[in-house]
Structure formats: structure tokens, C-alpha cells
């Protein structure tokens, strides 16, 4: 028996020993113990918005714990697990910065008063000289609904400018337009928990496993029940690897593939005629339009063997319940809207939309990509999806905001158009929030010129992003866990973000910065908020009666029922998890089908540029990487970009695995590591887009945009790859330039246009939503 036995008696008060020898009780046990609390919140990254608990001790976020929630059931992907490390990251901006000595100067520490006075002084001078629209706001969607709403209001009321748009324009504006056009409501029609009810899941252009890992558990649950999985992707991504049928489609040719599948479904007699007659319009035109798309034609266009397409159509068509999931792969295109509409046509023809587990589902990329576009920071929309050019809807918002209707600006330029207006001097100054244009916009040399032409460029961010590096004034904002508010995830579920820490140093909450700027602009009376809850209450009112009706949503209700799905028009309404069960969002209650023609991407391979370059994500990074490239664990997994090339082509070009090669497109060239993998089409190259400076894939991508929604073509441009040893590429005798398919459709007129006049009919239609 140990002589120390008494020391280890359970629950013994050790201080007793000291007291026995006459010493004062020590506080060591208490001082050592750090009280820890769990703050329930949601992840800051992708549109899934996984629930998590943040472990908070001593005012610092020190870790993460799982939190069970209907859509993620306690699981997290690697990004979510380390997200908390941002809060006390040494790179955090803790005080305002001003570039002293003009454009060539350095960013130096400044006081808040100095920074805000400078900004407001410049803005007032610019607006007095060049009009209110000379100052623009470029916003983001990785923010709470409250912040997004306030940004829209700040631009239109605080600054009085028409130019407000956000980076969701680059993300899924094509899907948003397609859903609004076909269904009348721009939201994923069903919750994630419906996915296991499908018997066939068709993933079109989405690297679900890497971009939305948590969605995979629902897909696997469906597969455990016997569902089949079809994946269309030029790369064999981790989800394609385990699919029943992989359709390695040539980038940018999706409409051809989807039209053929629809034609095959018709031929096999799998169309739900009763559903089409009762619930849709335009079926006859669609039926006629797809007739010319034979499997053989599709094989030539898409590069997918004809029998595979036919097999896919049957697998899809014969399933009693089938679900199409699509994301950026088909949306980042000059025909993005058509691609999404083609998916919708297919689902409607099978009578799937509105059925539990059936239909189509768009997968939102950004954290609040769904909410961000509903609450009025889109160029053509006011809160609640209200149209900015419809008088009654303008009047409603003007009343909520307390301004006369004529003071409310008209529609402004889309994000991609804004860059052109900055470059040509129409926009003199821009406020950028939570957005990294230098990484996220195509053709980034043009973006750099546009940003450098601004005076001043004002950036609110919490890390010095590639865009903030070019700013004249940088204002330190907050990361997600330092503020309170709501976000709307990819299902349309509104969830609550809770505060876990205070902003470090002099950093301020973004809504306070905006309110203060508005006050100094002489518009403070419209921005009297005591907290984000008041902003949310105003947002509820502003969305009341709109398409995305938040009026019945309260923070308490979100907590009580694990998120609320919009529309939720009254406080006793439970929310709407599944849409279109009875009727669609159009006044006649019917879905509109659209006949579609295949058109090639804006730029096609030629002899000088024999490849198609496509870009995408890796699982360790989020969007422009401003956040994830700073987190050690994530950055260590993928610290730099690379180019994926098929072994067949690598052999032909004499490229070895891990050799540095040069990738060229008509817009520029970059040197990166070649990763020779058989998991990509031989005619395609892939570069991940999360990196800045010389690693930015958007040095190469094509700025051509969809004519209606202005989403750029990130996923298909002509490219060449060559060795660095000086051996020239064998170009042959043929064409030395990329083949460009610019047509009036693919080279759309950019802003400014008179509202409703110079826009094409398609564009007018799209802008209405």
C-alpha cells in the first residue's frame, strides 16, 4: 500500500494539508481552472451552414464541438473544424489603414476618425462633381442577412447610388434566374433531408464531395436505400469515383447532354403527361426542340459515348423518384441559365418537381449565397426579391425605409459590369465588403486596372485580402463569430449565428461601420440601430409580402424549431421546407418550360489553344482563400495551385508529373505544377481557383458573360500548356488564335443601358427576377 494513499482520496480538499501546517489556503485549483462555455452557432463557410458549438473560454474562441442539427447531424468538414482559428488569427486587421502619399504610398495605421472623415470627404466631393452614381458598393454573400440587407440599404439610402451588386453574381445568378423564370421562386425546392427519398440522383456539374462534403452523407443515405447515382463532370471527382455512371462531359456542352437525355426519356415513354398538362406550360415547344438532339450528335458535342447518355437517361427516367443536383459546373457559363433550365425541363417532364425527394436542387456555394440575394443587395432587386423597376414594389420599400419613392435609385450595373465602369472612370470610388475581386473575377489584369483607377478604393475586411492590398482605405471588420445575425442556407433554412467573441483591437462590427458612414454622410436618421436584432426586424418588415417572406421568422423561432424555411408569412406559420407541392410561384401556379438550343462556349479550342481550361475548388479551401489560406491545417494540405492534365496528353507534350509548366490562354499565362492524373478528360485542363497573385487561375479565365444574368464563363476557355524548357509548342500551320464564338448572345451589351430598352428580350426577362 502506498504511503501516499491519503493524498489520492477522492474529492479531498488539498488545501486542508496546507491549513494543517498553518499556511493560507491557496487558490491554485481555482485559478487554474478555465471556465468554458459552448456557444451554439453555424459554420462560416459554404452554403450548407453546418451547426457547431464554439468553445469559448476567457473571451477567446478556443475550439469546436459537434452540434446536432437536422441538416448536418453533428458532422463537419475540415474547413468547419478549423474555422474557429480565424477569430484570434495573428493576421487579423485590428486598426484602420490609410494609404498615405497617394497611389504609390504605403498602407499605414490611422485612427477611425481620420479614416472615416477621409472616406466621407472624398465621397461627398465625388458625388457633388460626378453625381451620386459615381460611388459604388460591391458586396459579398459570406455575411449575415442583416449585414447584406444593411449594405443594400446603405448603398441606396446612405449613398443614394444605383450601383450596388454582390459577388453572388459570380456564383449562381444563372441558377437564380433559371429558377425564377421556370418556377417563379428562386430557392432550392426541397430540404437536404429529402435527398434520401430519391431513387436516382443525377449530379450535374457539381463536385459535391469537395465543395459541400456534408451533403455527401445524405447522398450516401439514399444509396444505402438502393438509389443510383449519375455524375456529369469533366473530372473524376471523389463523387464521380463512386457513381454508378460517370458522364465525362466536355466543359460547356451541358445543354446538348441534357437535351438528349430528355429526348430519350420521351422516346422510352417515361414522360409524365398528366403532370405536364396539369402543372406546366410550354411542353410542346420543348418536346419539338429536343427532337434534333440524337445520342450520336450529343456524343460528338459532349465527348460522352452515346450509349452512356442513353443509359443515364434510362437510369434517371425509370426511377420513381429522381433528383437533379446542380452547381457551379453548369452555372458558371455563358449559357448558365439555359443549362439550369435544361435540368428543370428534364425534371418537369418526369413530373418530379414538388414531390418529396424529387425534382431539382441547386447547391448554393457561399455561406449566405441564398439569403444574400434575397435581402436587396442585388443590382436589380430590393428586399424580399422585390423588383426594383416595379413601381408598387419600390413604393413599399421606400415606405419601409422612410424615403420618398423617387429618391430610391433605379437598377445599377451587375458586378461584372461594374468592373468595366470602374476601368472607364464612370465609377470613381467603390466600397468593397467581404469580397476579393482580385481572386474571384475573371481576367484579373483588367480587374487590377479597374481597382487602381478608383480613388478611393475602400475595403472592409478582417484579413488583408489581395483586393484590400490595393485599397486606399482599409477598415477592420469582424469575422462571423464576433457578430450576431441570421443566414439562409442552401435549403432556404434560416439559421442563427451567435456571438462568441469580441472584435480584436479597434476592429468594429460591419453594421456599425456602415451606420457610422451613413451618419457622416448626413443620412444617420435612417440607420438608427441599437443592434442586429433591430436590423432583422426591419428586414422582416421589408420582406413582408415579398417572394422570400421572412416576416414570420423570429430569432426565438429559429432556435425553437432548428431553423425556419422561408416563405414564412406570419408568426404562427411554421415555414415551408418543401416548395411547389401544390402550385408553382407564377401567378397561374404553373411551371414554365423553355425550349433550348445548344450553343458552344464563348471561346473554343483552336490549334494554338488546343485545351479547354476549367476551374474549380478543392476541399481544403473556400472561395478566394482569404480565410482558408491563412489556416495552417488547410493551407498545408493545398498550399499552391496546380494544373491537372491527362497522362495521354502529358506524354504527347513531354510533360512529367510535378514538372512546372506554363498554361496560356488569350488573356495571359501562368506557371504551375503539372499534376498528371487520369481522372480528367484528355482535352481538358483543371486549375483550382482559390489562390492569389501569381497563383490566381483568373489570370486566364474568360470574362465573357451570360447575356441575361452576367455570370462569367469560368468553366470553359481555350488554353495551351507548354514546357518551360524553351521548346516551342508545335502549333501546326492552322489558326493561331482561340476560336471565339462571340455572338450577340455571348457578347452582351454592358451597362449603361436605358432600363427596358436596349436589353435583349431574354435579358429583360431575367432582370425581372
Amino acid at each position: 500500500m502506498s504511503v501516499n494513499r491519503g493524498t489520492f482520496v477522492e474529492r479531498r480538499d488539498v488545501n486542508e494539508d496546507f491549513q494543517q501546517v498553518g499556511r493560507a489556503p491557496s487558490e491554485w485549483a481555482g485559478a487554474d481552472r478555465v471556465p468554458e462555455r459552448l456557444v451554439p452557432t453555424h459554420c462560416s463557410f459554404c452554403g450548407v451552414q453546418c451547426a457547431m458549438h464554439l468553445r469559448v473560454a476567457d473571451g477567446q474562441v478556443i475550439g469546436v464541438e459537434p452540434r446536432d442539427y437536422p441538416h448536418n447531424r453533428g458532422s463537419l468538414c475540415p474547413k468547419g473544424i478549423v474555422a474557429y482559428q480565424q477569430a484570434s488569427h495573428p493576421d487579423r486587421l485590428t486598426h484602420p489603414l490609410i494609404r498615405r502619399g497617394g497611389k504609390g504610398g504605403r498602407l499605414e495605421r490611422a485612427t477611425w476618425d481620420e479614416a472615416l472623415d477621409y472616406i466621407v470627404g472624398r465621397w461627398q466631393a465625388i458625388q457633388a462633381e460626378h453625381g451620386r452614381d459615381a460611388v459604388a458598393v460591391y458586396s459579398g454573400s459570406s455575411m449575415t442577412n442583416e449585414k447584406c440587407y444593411l449594405t443594400g440599404k446603405f448603398a441606396r439610402v446612405g449613398l443614394g447610388t444605383r450601383h450596388i451588386d454582390y459577388n453572388g453574381r459570380l456564383c449562381m445568378s444563372s441558377a437564380a434566374t433559371a429558377y425564377a423564370r421556370a418556377f417563379g421562386i428562386d430557392r432550392s425546392p426541397l430540404p437536404m433531408t429529402d435527398i434520401p427519398l430519391a431513387d436516382c440522383i443525377f449530379v450535374a456539374g457539381s463536385n459535391v464531395a469537395e465543395c459541400f462534403p456534408i451533403v455527401m452523407q445524405w447522398i450516401w443515405q439514399a444509396r444505402d436505400r438502393g438509389a443510383s447515382l449519375i455524375v456529369a463532370d469533366p473530372r473524376e471527382t471523389p463523387i464521380a469515383r463512386t457513381a454508378d455512371l460517370w458522364l465525362p462531359v466536355r466543359p460547356g456542352t451541358d445543354v446538348a447532354l441534357l437535351n438528349v437525355m430528355l429526348r430519350q426519356v420521351i422516346r422510352d415513354g417515361l414522360v409524365d403527361e398528366a403532370y405536364l398538362a396539369a402543372r406546366t406550360t410550354g411542353w410542346a415547344d420543348v418536346r419539338a426542340a429536343v427532337e434534333e438532339y440524337t445520342p450520336e450528335l450529343a456524343e460528338r458535342i459532349t465527348g460522352v459515348p452515346a450509349e452512356r447518355i442513353v443509359a443515364a437517361a434510362r437510369l434517371y427516367g425509370r426511377a420513381p423518384t429522381s433528383l437533379i443536383m446542380h452547381a457551379r459546373g453548369i452555372e458558371h457559363s455563358t449559357h448558365g441559365i439555359n443549362n439550369c433550365l435544361a435540368c428543370i425541363n428534364l425534371a418537369l417532364a418526369r413530373g418530379q418537381v414538388g414531390k418529396p425527394g424529387g425534382g431539382t436542387m441547386m447547391i448554393t456555394g457561399q455561406g449566405n449565397g441564398q439569403g444574400g440575394r434575397e435581402v436587396g443587395q442585388k443590382a436589380n432587386q430590393l428586399p424580399g426579391y422585390r423588383h426594383i423597376d416595379v413601381l408598387e414594389e419600390r413604393q413599399y420599400i421606400a415606405d419601409v425605409w422612410g424615403i420618398p419613392e423617387p429618391e430610391l435609385p433605379q437598377e445599377g450595373a451587375a458586378a461584372t459590369e461594374m468592373v468595366k465602369l470602374m476601368a472607364d472612370g464612370t465609377i470613381k470610388s467603390c466600397l468593397i465588403l467581404c469580397s476579393n475581386l482580385m481572386v474571384s473575377l475573371p481576367d484579373n489584369q483588367t480587374v487590377a486596372r479597374a481597382l487602381d483607377a478608383l480613388d478611393p478604393l475602400v475595403v472592409i475586411d478582417f484579413f488583408l485580402s489581395e483586393t484590400a492590398e490595393r485599397a486606399d482605405v482599409v477598415l477592420p471588420g469582424t469575422v462571423w463569430c464576433e457578430d450576431e445575425g441570421t443566414t439562409t442556407n442552401l435549403e432556404g433554412r434560416i439559421v442563427k449565428i451567435n456571438r462568441a467573441a469580441e472584435p480584436p483591437g479597434e476592429a468594429r462590427r460591419d453594421w456599425q461601420i456602415l451606420s457610422e458612414l451613413a451618419r457622416r454622410m448626413g443620412r444617420g436618421q435612417f440607420f438608427q440601430y441599437a443592434g442586429t436584432r433591430q436590423i432583422f426586424d426591419e428586414l422582416r418588415l421589408a420582406s413582408k409580402g415579398g417572394v422570400s417572406d421572412y416576416y414570420g421568422v423570429t430569432w426565438e423561432k429559429i432556435d425553437a424549431q432548428d431553423g425556419v424555411f422561408w416563405p414564412c408569412p406570419t408568426e404562427d406559420h411554421p415555414g415551408t421546407p418543401r416548395l411547389f407541392e401544390e402550385r408553382f410561384g407564377h401567378p397561374d401556379g404553373r411551371a414554365r418550360m423553355s425550349p433550348l438550343r445548344y450553343e458552344p462556349p464563348a471561346e473554343e479550342p483552336s490549334e494554338a489553344y488546343p485545351f479547354r481550361l476549367t476551374t474549380g475548388r478543392v476541399v481544403y479551401h473556400y472561395l478566394s482563400g482569404t480565410q482558408t489560406r491563412r489556416l495552417g491545417f488547410l493551407n498545408a494540405q493545398a498550399p499552391e495551385p496546380w494544373v491537372e492534365i491527362h497522362p495521354m496528353m502529358a506524354e504527347r507534350l513531354g510533360i512529367r508529373d510535378h514538372e512546372i509548366v506554363r498554361v496560356r490562354t488569350p488573356r495571359g499565362a501562368m506557371d504551375l505544377k503539372a499534376v498528371v492524373v487520369p481522372t480528367i478528360r484528355p482535352d481538358t485542363l483543371f486549375i483550382p481557383f482559390h489562390y492569389g497573385h501569381l497563383g490566381a487561375a483568373n489570370q486566364l479565365t474568360n470574362p465573357a458573360v451570360d447575356p441575361a444574368c452576367k455570370i462569367p464563363e469560368y468553366k470553359a476557355c481555350a488554353a495551351a500548356v507548354e514546357r518551360l524548357d524553351g521548346r516551342p509548342l508545335d502549333l501546326g500551320e492552322g489558326d493561331r488564335a482561340a476560336r471565339v464564338n462571340y455572338t450577340p448572345q455571348t457578347d452582351p451589351k454592358m451597362f449603361p443601358y436605358a432600363v427596358g430598352e436596349t436589353k435583349t428580350p431574354a435579358s429583360q426577362e431575367a432582370k425581372r427576377f
Binding site: 475540415p78 473544424i81 444505402d224 450509349e307 452512356r308 442513353v310 476541399v619
Partner: protein, 207 residues
Amino acid sequence: MAIKTLFVDPSRCIGCRACEAACRECDSHKGESMVMVDFVDRGWSVATQPTVCMHCVDPVAPCAQVCPVLAIQITPEGVVQQAEPSRCIGCRNCVFACPFGVPKFDVEARLMKKCNLCYDRTAQDLKPWCAQACPTQALWYGDYEEFANQRQGRAINLTDFGTQTVRTRVYQVVAAETPALDLAGLLREARAEAGQPERSRQEAWVL
């Protein structure tokens, strides 16, 4: 009810390393991962698989058997713990003895380190961090009956090393022998309708 344990299903692994990131969150070895995600055949496939301690049952944990100082303890529930720091002499016998190649030697700390099935969590009926986080449930925690009721595939806890068979607490999942879907038939049907010959016209790389 059978004991709860880990089920490792490599077919579901997407190589996201959420398990590694999660394992680093555990308070007992903060910042270090005891799980590894391996590329199965890099250069030819994107297939990945997580490697965790298999917690050998029979013969009982070779790593513990060869430990000269009894630093590796086995709990009554069959969880093989990592080496007790106060005892471990850094001889690396366990590293060489493990047939699965799991224990890692931390040169700086002069300690053997390995997964202990998140004993602090599992003892309180919580899931291990890796299985809790895993977005695809390639790492899944539960008992055998639950697994068989919910999931496809066959769970196996016997591994042959030459003539010796090792039974482990952790299960590996392999695909069901008969695929549920006759995809070849579907493709044959499509090919025949198009009047194409039986041989595959597909480019070699497509397969």
C-alpha cells in the same frame, strides 16, 4: 447489444481529411492527428482511405504485447491506449510490431502515439471526433447490428497476415459481392438499339 466501434468504409472516403482536422481538436493530443488519410493509388485514382488503429482483439494488440515496460494499456472495453508518457522509453517496439502500421513515433517527444478511440469521449457515450466529423460517414461509429441495418457493404473484422488471422475491434467495410444495379446490361441494351457492335467503342481513358 454489441459494443460500439468504428467502421471504416474506404469507398466513401473523399480524402477531405476532416477526420485529421477533427482528431487534432481532441484535448489529449491537441494539434496532432492520430488518424491518417492515405492515397490508395495516387497517379491512377483519386481513391483515399483513412487509417485508424484497428484495436486488435485476438491476438490481443501486438503493440501492447511487445511493450517491454507495459506502457500500452488495454481497457476492459478492448480499447488499446496509446503509450503512457511516464512509462514509454521510446524503444519503438510497438511501431515495428503493429501489422497495420498504425503507431507513429514522435521523435521530438520520444513517445509512441496512436489513436485511442477517443477514450475520453467514447467512455461517455460520445462518438470519437473523427467519426463525429466525417462528412461521408466513411468513418462511422456504432454497433454491428446498427451498421447491418442501415448500410450497404460487408463489415469485416478479420485480417489475414500470412498464416495468421487477426481479429480487430474496428471493422473494415468492403463492397457487397453482387452490385445492385446491372449497369453493363443497361449499356449493352443501348448499344444494341443503336445497331452498334457488341465491342466497346469507348475510348480507353473513359473507363
